[in-house]
């Protein structure tokens, strides 16, 4: 077989195999809340059967033993010989996870790569098929299973990020090609027109073409933006998994309902939403929903998640019917932590009180459990959503539950930045947070407790060394003029120094990679035309840092 054909085969394999994984995973997740119809069980069978066929055809000879087992299990279940209970469902969901990991690696390497969970997954499937696990063994297995489940949804998120293929409607592609063709011919017409400009009338004509060209560019840009849209469906699947895993590990029965899982949003938005939503759902189950025994009247805990487009915006609503937020407790804590003073609580509106939980440092050891703890608090949730230019609001009623609504503006907006090009790594500073940039030699400075301060709005602001903050080697020896950048956020200001020049640019930032997310002051990355990486200076974080230092 020639290489080109093999390339096609692998690409087709990837797309089909992942589709079958998704289909079976979706249905298995549905089976938590309802009994599956015969058609639905058949559909899982067909997916598992196809997975067996696909893994066999491509020659993944070890993996095919696993897909074969899954097919046999669902086939027995189809015949009514095995019940699709919690145990089997967990095993089969685990199977789809393990399989996806194997597929991902094997597709990358173009040879079979077996992952470490393969063996345990296989023996669990074998045991269920033989119907022999004893009660005690079953318990043990669930425990070892839970370990793998906790780590799996995270790796699932990776696959969300690493998705190499995307389905695009052929209509929008055709349209895009046609429009880009128009663009080229217009640009050529414009070139010709300018070459022949002699008179005023010709100048007008050139201007008309220019206007049309700009218009076309806007249309093409709109279409390309549209291509970046993906369904929230994948995200929903991860969230369902997280909800099921959480309810299981907390031993709380819940019903997780999702509406609008066919809505679409920009892929960068969906990526950025995964962590906050995951966290919010875990929180709802952990802190919102009561223990089963404490809900005698309410019954099974209900969590509703909905996605809805409102104009260009994406509105996400998460509600639970749990115990609700305790206003008095929040106030008490906020006063303790000095977020508010004792005298003003009465002036606070209800929603202002609830929004106190977004304050950094609000969630403390008291509510950090293994489930929703994870070292992130609601402040991180709010920050991630703020990064998308979104808003989050909470409403709650005691014993009725909590509603959280998130509004994300639809378009990925470009951010106007100045780029500090003379640092060893380029940093971009969002213009909206910059008050001004001045040469230090033009400013009056004072030395206060050994540090140089500038004067601004009747106060003295210390000059912070940017290179030191970013742990970069200092570049002041290269003969650059020292500049002071004054950053402001609400009523606070920070002055940083910088040696070098800068350029303006409009930038669309990506979420920082995992590796980069360890850098404290980086909140986005992009690559410029010369393939230099540019970090977005995390101005918001800088102000937090400043608060803590103060």
């Amino acid at each position: 077989m020639n290489d080109e054909f093999l390339d096609e085969i692998w690409a087709q394999f990837e797309s089909e195999a992942l589709e079958h994984c998704k289909n079976s995973e979706d249905l298995l997740l549905d089976s938590v809340n309802k009994d599956l119809s015969k058609a639905e069980i058949d559909s899982i069978f067909r997916s598992f059967h196809s997975l067996k066929g696909l893994t066999g055809s491509i020659g993944l000879s070890e993996t095919v033993t696993l897909t074969h087992l899954a097919e046999d299990l669902i086939s027995e279940s189809r015949k009514g010989k095995i019940i699709l209970d919690d145990n089997l469902r967990t095993a089969l969901l685990n199977f789809t996870d393990v399989l996806k990991a194997i597929l991902q690696k094997s597709i990358k390497e173009r040879k079979e790569v077996i992952t470490k969970n393969f063996g345990s997954c296989k023996s669990v499937l074998e045991e269920i098929l033989q119907g022999k696990p004893s009660k005690i063994k079953q318990k043990n297995r669930n425990e070892t299973f839970d370990d793998s489940l906790v780590s799996e949804p995270l790796s699932n998120l990776d696959s969300l990020e690493e998705e190499r293929f995307t389905q695009v409607s052929s209509a929008s592609l055709d349209d895009l090609f046609q429009k880009s063709g128009t663009l080229i011919s217009r640009a050529n017409a414009l070139k010709r027109a300018f070459e022949q400009v002699n008179t005023m009338a010709e100048n007008d004509y050139a201007n008309v073409i220019l206007e049309k060209l700009v218009n076309d560019i806007q249309i093409v840009n709109g279409r390309i933006t549209d291509l970046r849209l993906i369904s929230v469906n994948d995200l929903v699947r991860r969230l369902k998994r997280a909800a099921i895993d959480t309810s299981k590990s907390l031993k709380k029965k819940i019903q997780f309902n999702v509406k609008g899982d066919n809505e679409r949003a920009d892929r960068s938005i969906i990526r950025a939403l995964a962590d906050p939503l995951m966290h919010m759902i875990r929180n709802s189950i952990d802190h919102g929903i009561e223990e089963d025994k404490d809900r005698p009247k309410k019954g099974i805990g209900k969590i509703n998640l909905s996605f809805q487009k409102e104009g260009d915006n994406l509105v996400i609503k998460l509600s639970d019917d749990g115990r609700g937020l305790d206003k008095d407790k929040i106030l008490k804590k906020a006063i303790e932590k000095k977020f508010i003073s004792k005298s003003n609580p009465k002036e606070l509106e209800e929603r202002d009180i609830y929004s106190l939980i977004f304050k950094p440092g609000f969630s403390t050891a008291e509510n950090v459990s293994s489930t929703s703890g994870r070292g992130v608090g609601m402040d991180v949730v709010e920050k991630n959503i703020a990064m998308l230019g979104g808003k989050i609001e909470i409403f709650s009623e005691k014993n009725k539950g909590t509603n959280i609504s998130v509004l994300i503006p639809g378009a990925v907006s470009t951010e106007e930045c100045i780029i500090l090009k003379d640092l060893p790594t380029f940093y971009a500073v969002p213009s909206r947070s910059i008050q001004w940039v001045k040469n230090k030699s033009d400013l009056e400075t004072d030395i206060v407790t050994g540090t140089e301060h500038i004067r601004y709005n009747k106060s003295q602001i210390p000059i912070q060394d940017l290179s030191k903050l970013l742990s970069l080697p200092t570049n002041n020896s290269k003969g650059f003029v020292e500049k002071i950048i004054l950053l402001s956020l609400s009523d606070k200001a920070i002055a940083i120094n910088y040696f070098g020049d800068f350029v303006y640019d409009e930038i669309v930032f990506d979420q920082p990679d995992k590796l980069i997310s360890n850098l404290p002051f980086v909140s986005g990355t992009t690559v410029d035309d010369d393939r230099n990486i540019i970090f977005r200076l995390n101005v918001e974080r800088l102000f937090d840092y400043d608060n803590q230092a103060a």
Partner: protein
């Protein structure tokens, strides 16, 4: 164009990957004018109404209309030789007996082993031999 005069093959499988692989093997035989594809039994029957096919490669497990139902229909109205290409119809299985009873002309396991060229070659050869044999009869 009179398709009847041509030698045509119809590949019926819900997996595009499988259709691609089967098509590749059939193409290597260099004896057919037209290789058509169908995603399920229903589409296959529609294609059969429009053109004549000498050989049909038929998968069993498919959505909408599976291979067994399709085979039953095909045998009522068409003369094409039908090769069941499925792992479900291994020798001795209930499916194997059923499709034989319904008049399948041959049964073969799914080809493949793209990772292993010699295995792929061997599986491809099996199918080619079977087609050659049926065409001669």
């Amino acid at each position: 164009m009179n398709l009847d005069a041509n030698r045509n093959v119809l590949i019926v499988d819900d997996s595009k990957l499988m259709r691609m692989m089967l098509k590749k093997i059939v193409e290597e035989l260099n004896m057919f004018d037209l290789i058509e594809e169908a995603e399920n039994g229903k589409i296959a029957l529609e294609k059969l109404d429009n053109s004549k096919f000498e050989i049909i490669l038929l998968d069993i497990e498919m959505p909408i209309m599976n291979g067994v139902e399709a085979l039953r229909e095909i045998r009522l109205h068409h003369k094409a030789k039908v090769i069941i290409v499925s792992s479900l119809a291994q020798i001795g299985s209930t499916y194997s007996a059923e499709v034989k009873k319904l008049g399948a002309d041959g049964i073969i396991d799914k080809p493949g082993g793209a990772l292993d060229p010699t295995l792929a070659q061997k599986k491809g050869e099996d199918l080619k031999n079977l087609i050659n044999q049926l065409v001669k009869n």
